[in-house]
Symmetry: C2
Subunit: 361 residues, 2 copies
Amino acid sequence: MATGEFDLIGQYFTHKSVSRDDVIAGIGDDCAILSVPAGKQLVVTTDTMVRGIHFLPDANPADVAHKLVAVNISDIAAMGGQPAWASLALTLPDYDHAWLAAFSDCLHQQLHRYGVSLIGGDTTKGEMTLTLTLQGFVDQGQALRRQGAQIGDLIYCSGTIGDANAGLKLLIDADNRTALNVEKHALAAMDEAALTDSERAFLIARHQRPTARVATGQVLAGIANSCIDLSDGLASDLQHILKASSCARGTTLSANIELTALPLSSPLQTYISKALWAQYALAGGDDYELLFTVSAENKTKLEQAMADTDLPCTQVGVIIATDIIDTETDDSETAGSQIHYYNNQQLTTLTLQGWDHFNEQ
Amino acid sequence: MATGEFDLIGQYFTHKSVSRDDVIAGIGDDCAILSVPAGKQLVVTTDTMVRGIHFLPDANPADVAHKLVAVNISDIAAMGGQPAWASLALTLPDYDHAWLAAFSDCLHQQLHRYGVSLIGGDTTKGEMTLTLTLQGFVDQGQALRRQGAQIGDLIYCSGTIGDANAGLKLLIDADNRTALNVEKHALAAMDEAALTDSERAFLIARHQRPTARVATGQVLAGIANSCIDLSDGLASDLQHILKASSCARGTTLSANIELTALPLSSPLQTYISKALWAQYALAGGDDYELLFTVSAENKTKLEQAMADTDLPCTQVGVIIATDIIDTETDDSETAGSQIHYYNNQQLTTLTLQGWDHFNEQ
């Protein structure tokens, strides 16, 4: 039984949306009509998830919806913003009622959780590709940027890191999958047998059902100098802060990271051998924690503010000036930004394996 | 040679964007940061184009970019809005420099044409799927809605209609394509030989390179009672106005359309037999003209305002109350909305063949 595109939107997406006073018109016209509160600026982000690339082909549709929302809201959180409105572009190979019901139920549940109204979108036919555009507010001039890091800033991250990559590894091993791009993400030397059921579930949930750190981001506005969310892994995302801040300052910034300070969950420490902790914590993506820098003067202010949230933040390093010897390369704006890794205060060398969709082959 | 995702964004999309004072931060952070002018509301729309569904698999990438922008801006135009910002989600099967260069050149050219800044997006790997989210402004409370049609309103459309469908038919015939979904759009009884080269080029351009009617939409704000852009065809899109307006009024509206009034271009009249004119004009999609209704009192005001634009608008019908005999069905909010077709003022019966992605099989 075929059902039309417009029925599809109506049946699954129109009637369950969060009601907000600033949505003058939501789904159902050529555009949504929206009111931005006085004194606020808009923050806007777009993320796409493709089946077989960003999630396993037979992934639970509720997990897919959960992650699609979290990944986008996480970008708003990284700006210190308050999420408000979402547009969903849904490309699907067929009209699968069960899939759509499970997907839309969880999508609405997650949008409700963050107070976000679904204001529009598009449904088309093709390989499963899901794009969400999220809009939120920040107080005028208060957005957290990547580019604000200063020499001497302390580097923090929220929560624990590396869990999502371990969760993905557990899922891949469970089905002995070999044909997936995502497998490259997974590394050897695991001890699944050592995990309890709840530890295993914790790690998998960290991969499938991340939480966007909205409250933490809002606390950081006015305290942190720079911020980014951890989607690609700390090593890669810290480079974005270094590059953006170096470019904004006109001088090259680097960073020192203390490996023993990296916040690892207990299940992760049980599951993977110590030799791989740094790989998971630094190159494992998809944790959606916040990585941010704070001036030394603001350290007490940060600690006081964090006491009001239920998410610990951990200092993992410091921003430094780049040693003159590192800048001999003529590689334009990013010349010389480096991350130095310390193990119990001893400089050490790491080889990390990263992740980039267009570098796979 | 593989090149990373971030290089891709930088190389093709970051540096060519339109500069606007209301873009505090564009591409390069977790979110764009934007300022909405005082007294304005936001209008937001999202459209997806999938290769093989919305454009031919070997379509010129510049044509694809042109249409992607026009289709989205057309939704802003239909609200009477001024387009401002765009986010691009680009899913591509591989890293094809020639395709990306041609696509991004035309994308930027089109965004410049409409004064729109590219503020962000995402690039992912998968079957070619392009989603653009467009944002624009309307004066507070002045957005054109689908839901404002009143009994007695005159129904107008801008430009000429049916051309895009004829252009698609010409493209399909040129390659004797048979395996495409899009072929369903095309009908028999054509006389390609009768067309001059420039007439043929006109029809194909109307399919590949539509123009969003931004200036017309802005003129209509304050004059028209309702408006929609013609993406699915007049018959289908007029139903959206009737349904939305019936729902908003709490009474069922219908429409009379005079077939001899439908504005057909000279190339279209040359190319297709007269028996198919109504099919093309009413069920041919992708023209991206504006369909709108105006009260009889505003007719003179409309004609004066239209004299200042270079796009003619043509009255094609009138909004009527639904005859009581039509409302016997109990089909909820849309009960009884009907379109009656007249041929030289004689009521006539038409069977139109429509278009819906999820009704193909």
